[in-house]
Symmetry: D2
Subunit: 299 residues, 4 copies
């Protein structure tokens, strides 16, 4: 049961070798790095995890490795797929492998709320009673779910136990959701945590986001939970220039992997092709932003 | 009041001179041509009427000319506009000029049913108690309205007295609408009348469509109303090859204007730029299709 | 090599049992039915073949069965997939199984011509020297390829040996393509063959389309190749009301499967869920349209 | 001539009264406020200026008031419109009224680069030799222009003298544009200046953006021009939490107007309907962010 989910869920990267092959050993170091910096759980095979570039067997290998290393911490696996048949197969396999639940975003092309409900009815008829994170990420999916629609989905499908909210403005939507949802579910927010302390103030249960410095996510989360709102903002603001720099879709993922490599979390920063590669100019900006962060942190 | 609208509403072309200037005298001959071939009313300044290429003053001149020549037959004016301010201004002006009502499609960019309702609340707050045709044309607007959404719009806004239905498949949607609508409104169908006899069998009140041979629309409509379903289909099928040829978006409009010119309904077939121009190859196909139509009609 | 492809390529349905399971034996009867009515080749696992509802293993089972029954006629397999990894895997498997080539449409989300070229460079780097049908179907993919873009793709990638053209108006685009393409490739047209005789007149090499009455496709093709243009149109026009009725996206596929069942080509008309189901009203229209077709055919 | 444009161009708000009427006197105080905080020029009637909610006459009244108060500083007027006829009319009127140039974004619905060029050919044929800012804002328009496409537009149309770049990542696109453009034009960047110091490092000529604290824009611009890169970043980072908070589309505009009201730049923070209204919760966040900003500024 994921209904009581709270804490810091890290949206993980998938490590590759320079030639594009999977780098499974780096998953171990990456999980350890996340855990050391305050991760309470993991969300694997999301958009930032380059899931769409993997074959089904590769996806399973990645999921297994994360689950195996997570040391009992919950692992959510992204299974969104335009084919419900493939979504169903992957769900069955990852739940067998020990996942705590799956994350599903509606596929591009759903055109009305009627089609939205029909889609999820089909999905849940197929996958059964699997704990599910509903992902509200319209800028990626092109499917815009109103607060009323999300409330109705939560009403009708008990499998939905967590909402990953990453519409914008997320802050006002979180407030409206907390008023409208017909039962208590967890709400975690994505969008690379760009509004984390404010979202905490609006009543979320934590971030579900990626960042090269996950210690920021866990510090902001814990400070806010302790009522230290201004301290939470101060920590957040310290990291915001770098966070914003990483918040540039797939190019931002390339930056994040580069910083994770510098921090020895993964062996190689390469993204699998097709994907951006950083230039010398890009890398000099990374140098500058990391230097400035160090100065703010350590004076 | 448009609630009892029925019959053949012609979606009109806007005539231009070869240099792109408005050809207002051709509106007179065009209206007479439509009336002679069975038109019961007119819908002006739609997509097929090249409305987006007109300035506000030109649009008013076109609307006035159609209204002045319609000889008391109802004229509906398309006023859809991404700016509610401009929509409101044009509505006031055309209603003053004697229009029977306006036609409004939701603007591109509405993302949820909540936004859809909010949009029409704003529109009707501005234009007041003006008889309105709601246009359901998702392939043009990108706004997909489910049967439930249309029913709710009809419920909340008494101004909506006619639905122009041109989603696809229109036939199944008409059946579902007739079951779901909370009050009686007229339903007329567009999509260039590509499914007219079947839509009549599903309970519509007539076509709201353009065609170079409006006598087909009026014959099919009247035969079907008299219960002569097979005769209605036979007339329709005779014209279907040409109808389908004209059903090719703006390029089809260029064909339609060419045929209307050949039938002396307008003086010049030109579309205002930007718009397609027919090549010699295109014109030879028009020749062929008209010849084949004549053979089917006259043996 | 597919460069010299010509003739009638049938876009095949995938037969299911009433409970949604694959009905592989019906593939045999369906292939025989198509062949008896003039098929020169087959295109399997397209949109109309419900490919997105299949698991990878089911897709392979379907492809193998079609290839095994095709009796040496070429079988093209649709492999479009948002994941290049999965596209690559399926391509390798179907080519091993004896397919003549694959059909690829660009995935939704490509935003510029630069991204289009980059996408296909990645695809062909992965799949190698596999004969490929490029599918130009913007209404389904949301990717609009200009004539200049298609010409450049054909220039750069020798694997592209056939173009399946189903933009609209297809007729004018075929004319422009024939002038602009840098080398001879085959052009076949889809869109359910709604403009087949005119497209033949514009220089295509045949249809690549589905229809419950494939004998129309083969008669129109062969009459036109023999120079009997008016006879080709006459045959086409006879079937056009039913063809247009089937040309209603997935709902039209449900109609097509129902007619194929009545003609004993498949055992069961069911579409796999999610998919439309025909109502009694729908079926009475099918009755009417088939009756009228019989009258036109047999007096 | 705008080719040598450089400096800080403020994207202006349009002030309204609480009842939605235009508040023209507040334009005077707003212009003075911007000028006092370092504005070198103004861009009026953009998306953030609620241009789509104005009638043509209101738009002209707003443009005239800004031009009249600008005291000789250049004023660029946004004239984008789905109707080229209306775009042409507004362009002629604002150039007569003393505007320095117009800003044009391609309209939603352009599908290929061929259509893009055809569109601008039509626009420039109509408006003639008017200095033009090309706006590259794909997230708003849905039209994605590659670097190669922008270069070709600049090559073919000498009227394009400035590029407002707000694709993302803007920084890498600016670098590529500087290498690819066939002649020198000015590049200013939008996106609410979220990446301003880095964009300065990539070679832009200044920001074209809105912010409630324009002194940040001008300080960052001037420090960077003086080679004080680290100081520029330090100023930017100080304001970044508020800047990011305002960077939330139309809701962010509501915040910006509220802060401008608090700073006495405008009399009333209201947006014209339809538009967001701030709640008590929202306002308490504004309080918090402004307080934190003051602390960072003044210790």
């Amino acid at each position: 049961m994921l209904t009581n989910t709270q804490g810091v869920y890290i949206v993980t990267q998938t490590p590759f070798q320079a030639d594009g092959g999977l780098d499974l050993p780096s998953i171990d170091t990456l999980v350890d790095f996340y855990a050391r910096h305050g991760a309470d759980g993991f969300t694997v095979l999301g958009v930032a995890g380059e899931a769409a570039k993997l074959t089904p067997d590769e996806a399973m290998a990645v999921a297994r490795r994360f689950i195996g290393r997570a040391n009992g911490k919950p692992v959510i696996v992204g299974v969104s797929n335009p084919s419900v048949a493939q979504l169903g197969e992957l769900t069955a396999r990852v739940m067998d492998a020990g996942a705590s639940g799956v994350m599903i975003a509606p596929p591009s092309g759903l055109k009305t709320e009627e089609e939205l409900f029909s889609y999820f009815a089909g999905v849940f008829a197929r996958i059964g009673n699997v704990p599910t994170v509903l992902q509200d990420f319209p800028f990626s999916t092109g499917v815009w779910m109103s607060v009323a629609s999300i409330a109705r989905l939560v009403q009708e499908f008990p499998q939905i136990q967590v909402l990953k909210e990453e519409d914008l403005p997320s802050i006002t939507k979180v407030t409206r959701l907390r008023e409208a949802l017909p039962r208590r579910i967890a709400i975690l927010t994505g969008n690379n945590a760009m509004f984390l302390p404010l979202e905490m103030g609006r009543g979320i249960d934590g971030p579900m986001a990626g960042f090269s410095h996950p210690e920021m996510l866990s510090q902001v989360y814990r400070l806010h939970r302790e009522g230290k709102v201004e301290e939470a903002h101060a920590v957040f603001d310290t990291y915001l220039p770098l966070l914003s720099y990483e918040n540039q879709s797939q190019w931002g993922v390339a930056v994040r992997k580069e910083v994770l490599r510098r921090r020895s979390a993964i062996a190689c920063a390469a993204m699998r092709q097709p994907g951006p590669r950083l230039t010398a100019t890009d890398l000099s900006e990374v140098d500058l932003l990391l230097l400035q962060l160090q100065r703010r942190l350590h004076g």
